[in-house]
Structure formats: structure tokens, C-alpha cells
Symmetry: C2
């Protein structure tokens, strides 16, 4: 029975996609069958694993709007244990198209329920907004993982995001847990980064993962080759951080 | 007659808010009366200039939904030539509230037309999405400024954004010009950053400003003190870059 983890934060550029791709790749390397669902019209997770979205026939939009079975749109990546459902720019319009539908918040859940048992983990990459597609992702998910960049503005929005998660928990998905908060783009030399780490750990205590993802240029380069960090450079700090992070999640879920 | 510039890019974390705050501050220092309009429910531009959004009485939501006159919600900052209309978390709901209104895309334009002559520049900070509030900003604007982070994913989304701008130009705002593309968070040591700069300059030619904003830790620190970069450290690279950028825009608009 696969676990669905939504990666969400309405603050932009905090490492949601980088975490979706490389946590997925790390689970794959550790022999856990993993699916990435790209729920962001920017389709960064799709291109980051080497999918050319101009060439694919089906995508997440078809599952949400036309109730196409996910197996029709799942694409294999170079990692045998990592598949992806790609995004599409049409997702921008999907929010308006779903507005007057009954069950509009449950469309993604209804789609993913069909394949949930085929994977150990399903990771949903959300766009930087709290619109209907992100609400769909939080409704479909068993837990939500929140990346927080070690910067001031990223800290500011955290309280609001946790409020939104509470609203979804009370109205749409009572089973939704907090997987936790992962600190990203940590530069040990910066005073501000250290202040943010201290502040997040003080406020959110054991919600915060021990693994911190350091700033590492390889993580920025890998997607330009359409590769996960493990394929791009398995020995760099980015790969080590994400593998450690995957192991920490597995331990937390009593899976190792 | 003030010029309204919308700062937009649906890619998150590319420097929209940092540019809105510090371009605004630079225009202020150069004696041009400037207003920042914070059109992002995260309200980063508001807190970045020292506004405590829990304490303000009025904000942009009131102008959009209740047609309150902007003068009722404008707040002065420490820079005598820089004012701000703060954002509010209620903006998240504004998109749904406006959906069935006639003129739903023109609400911000109608509000800003009331005060356009009181300023030389009005700068709108948009959220990382292409929803109704951003469309309102593009409809109200005379031109659109697109910050592009020197990273791979930021490059990928540029084509889509320029398509969206063309749609707004043809359907909602025929007067909308491209102010240009400004490269941000440039780290001279990174090969990828240099590749992105070359690629953007090759594809977009004279749309790209000569001034490049370098990565500079002071720019990340300043908002944690509620200060613009010029107040925080007038001699750092961030201040120099944004002052040069302001001068380049003034020259381009035959204002110096
Ligand atoms: N640990 C890291 N070290 C260096 N660069 C990173 C790291 N994590 C992410 N990046 C880079 O920072 C940028 C922002 O990351 P990413 O796109 O994953 O964030 P996001 O939250 O998905 O953004 P959006 O809000 O637009 O969806 C990307 O260019 C990415 O390559
Ligand atoms: N030139 C720079 N050098 C160093 N840090 C920067 C620079 N520009 C922006 N930053 C930092 O990078 C982060 C992202 O920038 P910013 O918040 O301005 O982007 P944005 O596009 O407004 O994000 P969002 O999409 O969430 O609105 C912030 O923490 C900011 O302080
Ligand atoms: Mg992303
Ligand atoms: Mg912003």
C-alpha cells in the first residue's frame, strides 16, 4: 500500500521540485518503487527527469479532467524504480474547469487511488500556490512534506502554510499527517541561514528533519541534463544529503 | 503621469519581490516618487519594507473587492519617496470572489487609475502564479518587467510567460509593453549561471537589460531587518546593482 506524500509550500523557489525529483530518485536507488506526480503547470519535475513534455501524449491534466487511468500516462525514467506522471501547461486552465464540478477537490485522489498499490511511494510536486490543484494534492495525500529554504522570506510564510494544512485536515482530508519540514539550500557560511535553522528548529521541534539539504551547485546543474542528482553525480553532497533524507523518512515510517 | 510596471514570473523564487523593493528604493533615492503595490498574498514586499501586516488596517484586497480608494491604504516607508500598498492573506480568496464579477480583470486598473498621477512609478509585485490577481496586474500595467534567475528551471518557463503576456496584450491590455528581462542571482563562478546568461541574451537580444543583479548575501539579509538594500548597506554590491538598474530603466524611458 503506497504512501502518498505531497510536497508543498506556496513560497516560490524553496526546493519543492528538487526535493520531489531527488527524494524520488533516492527511494528508487534504495529499491522502493516510486512515482512522481508533477502537479505544477511549469512541469519542472517532468523535464528534470528527462521527459520532453512537448512529445508526451498524456499527462496529469487528462487524469483530472477526462478521468483517464494513470497507467495510460505514466512514463518510465532511467531509474527502474522511478516513474513519473508528467504535467502540462493546460493545468493552468484546469483550476477554472474544475471550479463548478462536484468533488472538485477529490479528482486527484480518485485518480491516484487506482494505482496506489503499485508503488511504495507516490510523491506529488506542487506549484507555488494554494489553488485548487494544490488543494487536490493535499486531499489525495497521506502526508505533506514542507521544504523551507534557509532564507528570511521562506520563514515568514511557514505559519500561514501550516494553517492552510489544518483547514484541509479539518474539511477535506482528516487522514492528512505532517511528514515534516526539511531545510533546504543551507549555506553553512551565512549567518542568516544559521538563524533560520535555529528559528525553525525552536518553533517546530520534532517536525523538523535532522537531515539538512546543503546548497550544492550540482543540484542546480542536474536538471539541465535531465538527470536526477544520483545519475548526475552520485558522490556529491547533494546525492549524500538526499540519500540520507530518504533513509530518515524510511526510519520514521518504520520501513527499514 | 506615473508609469505602472508589473514585476511578474510564475517561476517561484526568482527575485520578483527583491526587485520590487530595491528598484523602488533606488527610484526613491534618485528622487522619483514611487509606490510599491504588493499583489502577493505572501506579503513579502510589505514585510520587506518594514510593514507589520498584522497591524495595518487597509490593504490591496480592500481596493479590489470593496473599491476602497488607494489613499486610504497607502503606507509611508522610511524612504520619503517610497510608499506601499500592503498585501493581505485574504488575497488568496479574492481570486474566487472576483470570478463571477464583470470587469474582473480590470479591478486593479480601476483602483490604480485614481492615484496614477501622484507617482512617477508604480511597481506591482506579483505572486508566482498566472491567476486572476496577476492578470489584474498585467491589465493595470503599462509594462512588464520579468526577473530571470540564472538557473536552469528559470530559463525553461520563460517562453510560456512571454506567451501569456502576448495573450494579455491581445485580449485585455493592448498598451502593455515589455519593460524587459533582468537577470538575477548571478554567481560569476558558476558555469551554469554563465550558460543561462548567454542563452537569455542570445534568445531575447535587446529585451535583456545590461545590468545584471549579482547574488549578494546582503540582499537576503535586508528584509529580515525590514529595510531596503540601500538603507541596510548602501555600499554593497546589491545596492550598486539596483541603483545602476534604476538608472538604466530611466535612460530607456528618456527620463534622465
Ligand atoms: N540544495 C540546492 N542547492 C543548489 N541549488 C538548488 C538546491 N535546491 C534547489 N536548487 C535550485 O534552486 C532553484 C529553485 O529550486 P526548485 O525549482 O526546486 O524550487 P521550487 O520550490 O520547486 O520552485 P517553484 O516554487 O517555482 O516550484 C532551482 O533552480 C534549483 O535547481
Ligand atoms: N541577488 C540576490 N542575492 C542573494 N539573494 C537574493 C537575491 N535576490 C533575491 N534573493 C533571495 O532569494 C529569495 C528569493 O527571492 P524573492 O523572494 O525576491 O523571489 P520571488 O520571485 O519574489 O519569490 P516568490 O516567487 O515566492 O514571490 C529570497 O529569500 C531573497 O532574499
Ligand atoms: Mg517547483
Ligand atoms: Mg515574491
Amino acid at each position: 500500500m503506497g504512501k502518498i506524500i505531497a510536497i508543498a509550500n506556496q513560497k516560490g523557489g524553496v526546493g519543492k521540485t528538487t526535493t520531489a525529483i531527488n527524494l524520488g530518485a533516492s527511494f528508487g536507488v534504495l529499491e522502493y518503487k516510486t512515482l512522481i506526480v508533477d502537479a505544477d503547470p511549469q512541469a519542472n519535475a517532468s523535464s528534470g527527469v528527462g521527459v520532453d513534455i512537448r512529445k508526451v501524449e498524456g499527462n496529469i491534466y487528462d487524469c483530472l479532467i477526462n478521468e483517464v487511468h494513470p497507467n495510460e500516462v505514466i512514463i518510465k525514467t532511467e531509474n527502474p524504480n522511478l516513474d513519473i506522471i508528467p504535467a502540462h501547461i493546460d493545468l493552468v486552465g484546469a483550476e477554472l474547469e474544475l471550479i463548478n464540478e462536484s468533488n472538485r477537490e477529490h479528482k486527484l485522489k480518485m485518480a491516484l487511488d487506482k494505482i496506489k498499490d503499485d508503488y511504495d511511494f507516490i510523491i506529488i510536486d506542487c506549484s507555488p500556490s494554494l489553488g485548487l490543484i494544490t488543494v487536490n494534492s493535499l486531499t489525495a495525500a497521506d502526508s505533506v512534506l514542507v521544504p523551507v529554504q534557509c532564507e528570511y522570506f521562506a520563514l515568514e510564510g511557514l505559519g500561514k502554510l501550516l494553517n492552510t494544512i489544518k483547514i484541509v485536515q479539518s474539511r477535506l482530508n482528516t487522514e492528512l499527517d505532517m511528514e515534516g519540514i526539511v531545510l533546504t539550500m543551507y549555506d553553512t557560511r551565512l549567518r542568516l541561514a544559521n538563524q533560520v535553522v535555529d528559528e525553525v528548529k525552536t518553533h517546530f521541534l520534532d517536525l523538523v528533519f535532522n537531515t539538512i539539504i546543503h546548497r550544492n551547485t550540482r543540484l542546480g546543474e542536474a536538471p539541465s541534463f535531465g538527470e536526477t542528482i544520483i545519475m548526475h553525480d552520485a558522490t556529491c553532497k547533494g546525492s549524500i544529503n538526499y540519500l540520507n533524507f530518504a533513509r530518515e523518512i524510511l526510519q520514521k515510517n518504520d520501513l527499514t
